[in-house]
Amino acid sequence: MTGAAVLSRAGLDELIAALIAEGYRVIGPTVRDDAIVLAELGSGAQLPSGWGVDSAPGRYRLRRRADEAVFGHSAGSQSWKEFLHPSQQLLWSADGDGFSPARDEPVRIAFLGVRACDLAAIAKLGVVLGGGAHPDAAFARRRAGLFVVAAGCTEPGGVCFCASMGTGPRPGPGYDLALTERTDAQDHRFVVDVGSPAGERVLSGLTRRSANGAEIDDARGAVEDAAAQMGREMPAIDLRQLLADSRESPLWANVADRCLACGNCTMVCPTCFCTTTQDSTDLTGEHAERSQHWASCFDVDFSYLHGGSVRVSGASRYRQWITHKLSTWHDQFGSSGCVGCGRCIAWCPVGIDITAEARRLAELREASGAGEEGPDEQS
Amino acid sequence: MSSPDELAGSALFDRLTAAQLAAVTEAVREVTFAPGTRLFDEGQIAAGCWLIRDGQVALETAIPGRGLVVVQTLGPGDVLGWSWLVPPHRWHFSATATGAVRALQLETSQLLALADADPALGYPLALGLFEVLLARLQSTRSRLLDLYGSPRER
């Protein structure tokens, strides 16, 4: 972090104003409806100053902090995917014999306060939606115009496990600027790391000073210490193989007794990307439209085929979700699909904990003696 | 009379030793049927078993209003006739050669006598018949699934 800078709390407000002045829509955290949500910010005054979060399986509550930290929270119900991969979007319209793509006006979006887990999630969405043979051009356009201000975590939440997923708490590459917030009796400051030429340029227009060695060490140390304070952790085993070995595990029936198949986990998960399409016409039938919206593999209709669905039981649908997230994502996209943000744990109405289920699967596999001979299917 | 070579390769006999195969061969002769020949009738006492070599045999039953309905055809490699082995020893369907048919005909009364006298032969022979029967059962069940039916019909 050589050449790191320090912004004051006022400097952060300046950053937001500067981005707005450059034509960015600045999306960042704010308090609304007893939660911290991601919304368009008009100024730094809208940041959730002094708000923290208590998160646990099936539980999320705001609490007042003793300080005025603006990034002292985690695991809100939304992730940044709403702005890159919107929950609803028009794909095309058809009149007569022609198909016209929906043209989104070019919007430049700035994300303020992206955690390491969410930064990793954006990169994974980039692989899925932008890295295949047929990229999602709208996603690619939105991401190309993105300005990312990451936030290093110093206080992981009760459901966080980014450290054991290898995605945090220190933000990985992909940011233009990264801020580590430090607040104490003397000072409320943000140690800034520059991640790109665009970040350098924006930073150069702000009131700032150089960070000294002690400040840099303190910022880095605080984030490193956070790795040891995670609320939970994923077992340190080959999860991809574990799920592949567990297709007939007795766990699925057990989970099915608890899981409501409500799909909350897929909505709050920052990497869940599945979509479905919807067709509509006007009354004359001359004008037709197709739109796309988020879909969940917990929906029975998700696997509709030949008059019925392939995955009818709740057990099979839960198995599909966790297997895709932790295992087959590797086969399809070259990495894990889970970033350890813990949202699925906090926002599950019955408090199912993906790390606990993985642990249980490992125990059941060991108990059954399976997995000792090695994989019998192609990897 | 046929040679043991002609019997080899059929699932019916591949569990028999060379000596057993030789004994069974005594009970086998090659036959031909002209097109339209009725090999046996539904309800008759069941005797005889055929290993089809060429041509097609239709298993059928008469249904008033539908006529003579072919429920199954058998072709080269297929075994025709099992009702001789167990009670009530009567044919369940009729069998007709739909074209010219060449087959190996097993004299089942001789086979039964051989098997009664020597269980060491009877058992593998019964297993061979069972294997053929099982395959036929699986195919019939597959047909019952109506796999090619449309979801609209369900």
Binding site: T277, D279, G285, Q292 | G77
Partner: protein, 292 residues
């Protein structure tokens, strides 16, 4: 943002002919043939821009605006290079019904080609055994057309096709033409008794079981309802074929066909990208798991 993201955006625009991955390309229906009471073969020609050529086994996403879009394998001659497409559609739902009801002159939307091909070029010099059940005969027809167009490149060609009844056998004229050829063996069989049919009555695995195969020399292409493919593959394996030489065409719900919507997963496979043609060495374990 980083340079590779920008180049991805540019590539996205260029890749799909300047348009978007999900934007259908208008094609006009120029031919329509009723194959059976619920199957129609449509011949489509591009209204303007043509799509890249489709290989046997690949599929298109066919759209009727306002109704929906479904994945349909190509069923025609793969050597056609005029941009025309042939698809055989069975009326089983709202979208397929709407597609079956189109008439010459109507315009529908097409996206593709998507998916893996039957890989006929990798079977050169070998025996081809093609096993089709019901409407599964449509996706394998391009294999036959392609192989017959270069007949000397292959050794034996055997087609074993099952249908529920004679009336539901597709492409009957072509089946008769192929059966009349000395260099192709055609075994047809029906499941249900039918008046006026003097051919074989039995499940498709029955004539398949009686085939004499040189297993090491054979490539099998199997297409039809999933249980029929499992049962047929089981027969072929018992004849000594390697699972890797048996290719099946798999199906799951598809909303995009392009690897973006996540619907068509079968375990680790995305069938729009890793399928629909999958070799049985990969597919067998997956097909054995219920509700996967």
């Amino acid at each position: 943002m980083s340079a590779d993201i920008q180049s991805t955006a540019a590539a996205a625009v260029e890749h799909d002919g300047g348009g978007e991955t999900m934007l259908p390309v208008p094609h006009r229906v120029t031919g329509r043939r009723e194959e059976s009471h619920d199957c129609v073969t449509l011949r489509l020609e591009p209204c303007g821009r043509a799509l890249p050529p489709f290989a046997p086994g690949q599929f298109a996403m066919l759209a009727r605006p306002g109704v929906g879009e479904i994945a349909i394998s190509i069923s025609g001659d793969p050597s056609a290079r005029d941009g025309s497409l042939t698809n055989t559609i069975r009326d089983v739902g709202a979208v397929s019904r709407a597609l079956c009801r189109t008439r010459p002159g109507h315009v529908i939307g097409v996206r593709g080609p998507y998916g893996t091909s039957w890989g006929l070029d990798t079977a050169v010099g070998r025996d081809l055994v093609i096993v089709a059940g019901g409407v599964g005969l449509a996706p394998v027809r391009p294999i036959l057309l392609g192989a017959l167009a270069a007949r000397d490149a292959y050794r034996r060609i055997v087609l074993v096709a099952g249908a529920r009844s004679p009336a539901e056998l597709l492409f009957r004229d072509q089946l008769a033409d192929w059966a009349a050829r000395p260099d192709v063996a055609v075994e047809l069989t029906i499941d249900q008794p039918a008046a006026g049919w003097d051919g074989a009555v039995g499940f498709v695995t029955e004539p398949l079981a009686q085939l004499r195969l040189a297993p090491a020399q054979t490539v099998a292409f199997v297409c039809g309802p999933e249980p029929m493919m499992r049962f047929s593959a089981s027969v072929l394996l018992s004849k000594g074929m390697a699972a890797g030489d048996i290719r099946v065409s798999l199906e799951r719900n598809m909303k995009c066909g392009a690897g973006l919507c996540g619907h068509c997963q079968l375990g680790p496979l995305l069938l729009c990208r890793d399928g629909p043609v999958v070799d049985y060495a990969r597919a067998q374990a997956l097909l054995d798991v219920r509700e996967l």
